[in-house]
Amino acid sequence: MTDNSEHPALRELRRLQPRFSGLESGHRACLGCGEALAARLVTEAAGPDVMYANATGCLEVFTTSWPESSWRVPWMHSLFENSAAIGAGMEAALKSQGKATRVIAMGGDGGTFDIGFQALSGMLERGHNMLYVCFDNEAYMNTGIQRSGSTPHAAATTTSPSGKLRMGKRHLKKDIVSIVAAHHIPYAATASVAYPSDIRKKVRRALGIDGPTFLHIHSPCPLGWGHDGSLSIEVARLAVQTGLFPVIELERGRLAGVMPIRSPHPVTEYLALQTRFRHLFADDERAREELEHLQALADHNIETYRLSGNLADNRDSEGSDTVRRGGMRWA
């Protein structure tokens, strides 16, 4: 690795960091990018003996500004729609060579929910032994914040603006993890960038399973969601604590585990931090109705997945991120 750092001591210190990091500094992600953090956490948990296929999207663009790369692992850029297919091919090739190297395919919500959906479905159906990770920032951020199948109800994007006729996106967020789990795959899970140890646990779990696995990581986009970059974790945490983004695990299509919510926060706490929901706080009857609608969606999630935790639990929405002197929580 070459760089032109003016601080040789820091360059040496960077080399000596007590963790494997597949994604290095110098990438061009925006300030406070949730996806850049989520991707690095996945590479940390997966370790060095992994090859990556990466769909077109923010992650691909900001990590590979020609002629540089931020990746410290074998990495291949596919088209927008086919990272699952490219990954499946890599897996088949490695299998025929008798190698144990694992394969992870990655895509954003556009490349997973919409454009790359049939390639993903095919890979799952053929039973390739690989992990697919979806970094969900709930719109086409790279091309200018257009709505995707993942954009939540009532969020404003450039193609679902709020105005006289609509209060942001009319439709609902696609329930991708249920659709994926319906392929009867051994493991499909959701996670949030606000809970790094939960991400690591799920990546290791998925890679320990023989067969297709799927991990859906909620990753805030400060630019597209309209919040300060310093609040990315705060926003992601509130998405979980309100019940709008349920953190769950499904094995062979059946619910196998959830991160309970100790005491659900009202959805307005989450929405008020983001300008994409700003129109919901106007003095407007439709806005009040949409706020109630989003609260009902969160309540529905809490009910459906039984997210209500009664007692304090060190694996619930409050206990999962407890810190201790000396950093022991991140094991």
């Binding site: 760089d3 750092s5 820091l10 960077r14 990438h27 061009r28 500004s65 540089e68 974790i233 002197r325």
Partner: protein, 561 residues
């Protein structure tokens, strides 16, 4: 760019490390150790956050050394202090404050059991000798800190033993004698020349001290009872509360009554009430124009006695009449047979001066055999007339300088604006630092600048879990006597658990949050520096995520120059 393309039109492998995203930055994160509220609230100046962190790490001796570098008497203050640190503790706004005084006491006791020695002086010895007059908490603290600063100390005391009010007015159920003796003997053994039986104004004069020593610390405490009467009337056999208490502690005797009323709301009033309850079982009334400690009361309106002592006194059957004053003594001849009480409060007048207001129509009669004023003391002017200038207390600046008397310093109860053991210990330290500063002709302020503590809303509380505070065992009411210590001590594991509960306000707790959560891998871990993290400003974009997610508000964003 000077890059060569190969024929296949792919680039030479290049890491993005060559691109410094730090150039985008408008703000930069910095590490800033800021004061925890317990630190700024402590009258003695202890940094409880620092030593609690060491307790959590089970580095007990280092924790104790950190503590005694500020307060040399932790086993004593852990028992008798009113712990304003715990009222200031940010954790009190989350669940319950850290039981700081219990851990302080546990550390102090452990040091006595293990025979730990004080840490070595911080500076090389100086030639000068400094005199300290009065071996109470302020004088002992000053003497100890002067030794730490490398000075020879002559400590003058009227009584045969050191301790001042700690020895003469604190009953053993609050402060066992072996603890008091253990800490004071260890302190005096630090090369302090203790000259007992020497009284200022009788055995030596201020002028002689001035001549012999370049600096003199005057910490005489308050030795004279304040005058008390009701419209000019006093009982013919007037007993003053503190004198009764001191005689009981020294000799073990106290007059027996069936019922008494103690006037006053301070610690001595409560102590005397409990001693009388324990020794004779008499009916004991405490009359105070202030209120019992309760939520929402203004601090000036609350009795100055320590809340837990008041609570224990009530458990033991002491009757406290709050917001009451004595309007008239009911006398048969010169003998007290009762008091006329009236509802009374302290209020501010139009010039913000305090005045006592009695409310007409609220009078009531209380039959008691004796009334005992316990309303506080003032400085005995003998030998110090020139310093007092007819005032009841000595007036000094924050460092203890008495205006117009260079080379003379004071602190503790003699100041009149203090009134706690820990404040006296803090005064001793500040005066010692000021003396060292002045004798060495140093520039600037001896005690640094005022610091603003971290507020609760600056912490990121998401990263902590609720956990109850440790509770020390208390002797059941029926088994209490005036000799046995009422409040017990924590277990070792409970002390460690309190260290774990500490939110570490304003100081790094090495939780790895910044290292884990930086989207730009611009926080690096190191073993070679405190704290264990450095910012790599070549790549930090200044998003502020680390500062927002820092649980302890140790990371602060600053504008780029």
């Amino acid at each position: 760019m000077g890059l060569k393309l190969t024929r296949g039109a792919f680039a030479h492998p290049g890491s993005s490390l060559r691109y410094h995203t730090g150039s985008w930055r408008m703000q930069r994160p910095t590490h800033q150790h800021r004061a925890a509220p317990c630190h700024t609230a402590c009258p003695a100046g202890e940094d409880a956050q620092a030593w609690l962190a060491l307790v959590e790490d089970e580095r007990f001796r280092e924790a104790w050394e950190n503590l005694v570098r500020v307060n040399p008497l932790p086993a004593i203050t852990g028992r008798v202090c009113h712990h304003p640190c715990e009222h200031a503790c940010n954790r009190g706004q989350y669940d319950e404050p850290i039981a700081i005084h219990h851990v302080e006491r546990w550390l102090g006791d452990r040091a006595l059991q293990e025979g730990w020695d004080y840490p070595a002086p911080v500076t090389a010895p100086h030639q000068e000798t400094v005199a300290v007059v009065g071996a109470g908490p302020a004088g002992c603290s000053a003497a100890w800190h002067l030794r730490q600063q490398g000075y020879t100390v002559h400590l003058y005391e009227t009584r045969p033993l050191a301790g001042g009010l700690l020895r003469s007015a604190l009953p053993p159920y609050r402060l066992p004698r072996d603890v008091l003796d253990g800490e004071l003997e260890r302190l005096l053994a630090m090369g302090i020349e203790f000259r007992s039986g020497q009284q200022l104004g009788r055995d030596f004069s201020l002028a002689e001290l001035h001549e012999e020593y370049p600096a003199v610390m005057i910490a005489p405490g308050t030795q004279r009872n304040r005058h008390w009467d009701i419209d000019g009337a006093t009982p013919h056999d007037l007993h003053v509360g503190l004198s009764l208490l001191q005689r009981w502690i020294d000799v073990g005797t106290i007059p027996e009554w069936n019922s008494v009323a103690i006037v006053g709301g301070g610690n001595s009033a409560i102590d005397l009430a409990r001693v009388i309850r324990h020794t004779s079982g008499a009916e004991v009334h405490v009359i105070t124009h202030q209120s019992l400690p309760r939520d929402g009361a203004t601090p000036v309106d609350v009795m100055p006695a320590i809340a837990r002592e008041i609570e224990q006194a009530l458990e033991e059957g002491v009757i406290i009449h709050q917001h009451r004053g004595v309007q008239r003594l009911v006398l048969r001849g010169e003998q007290v047979v009762g008091l006329e009480l009236v509802h009374r409060k302290e209020m501010l007048d139009s010039t913000n001066g305090k005045r006592h207001v009695s409310f007409e129509g609220t009078e009531s009669l209380l039959h008691v055999e004796q009334v005992i004023p316990t309303i506080g003391q003032e400085v005995d002017p003998a030998g110090m007339e020139v310093l007092l200038d007819h005032a009841a207390f000595l007036h000094a600046d924050a460092q203890g300088h008495i205006a117009g008397h260079p080379g003379i310093y004071t602190g503790g109860d003699a100041r009149g604006d203090r009134g706690s053991v820990s404040a006296a210990i803090g005064d001793g330290r500040r005066a010692a630092l000021a003396i060292a500063h002045d004798l060495q002709h140093l520039e600037g302020d001896a005690n640094g600048v005022e610091i603003v503590p971290i507020r609760f809303d600056q912490l990121n509380i998401n990263y902590f879990e609720p956990r109850r505070a440790a509770v020390a065992p208390v002797v059941p009411v029926t088994e209490r006597t005036a000799e046995i210590e009422v409040t017990g001590t924590l277990h070792r594991n409970e002390a460690i658990a309190e260290g774990q509960r500490c939110l570490s306000c304003g100081n790094c707790m090495s939780c790895d949050n910044c290292w884990t959560l930086c989207p730009d891998v611009a926080v690096l871990k190191t073993r070679d520096a405190e704290p264990g993290y450095v910012f790599d400003y070549d790549y930090c974009k200044g998003c502020g995520l680390c500062a927002h997610e820092c649980p302890t508000a140790y990371i602060v964003m600053e504008n780029e120059p």
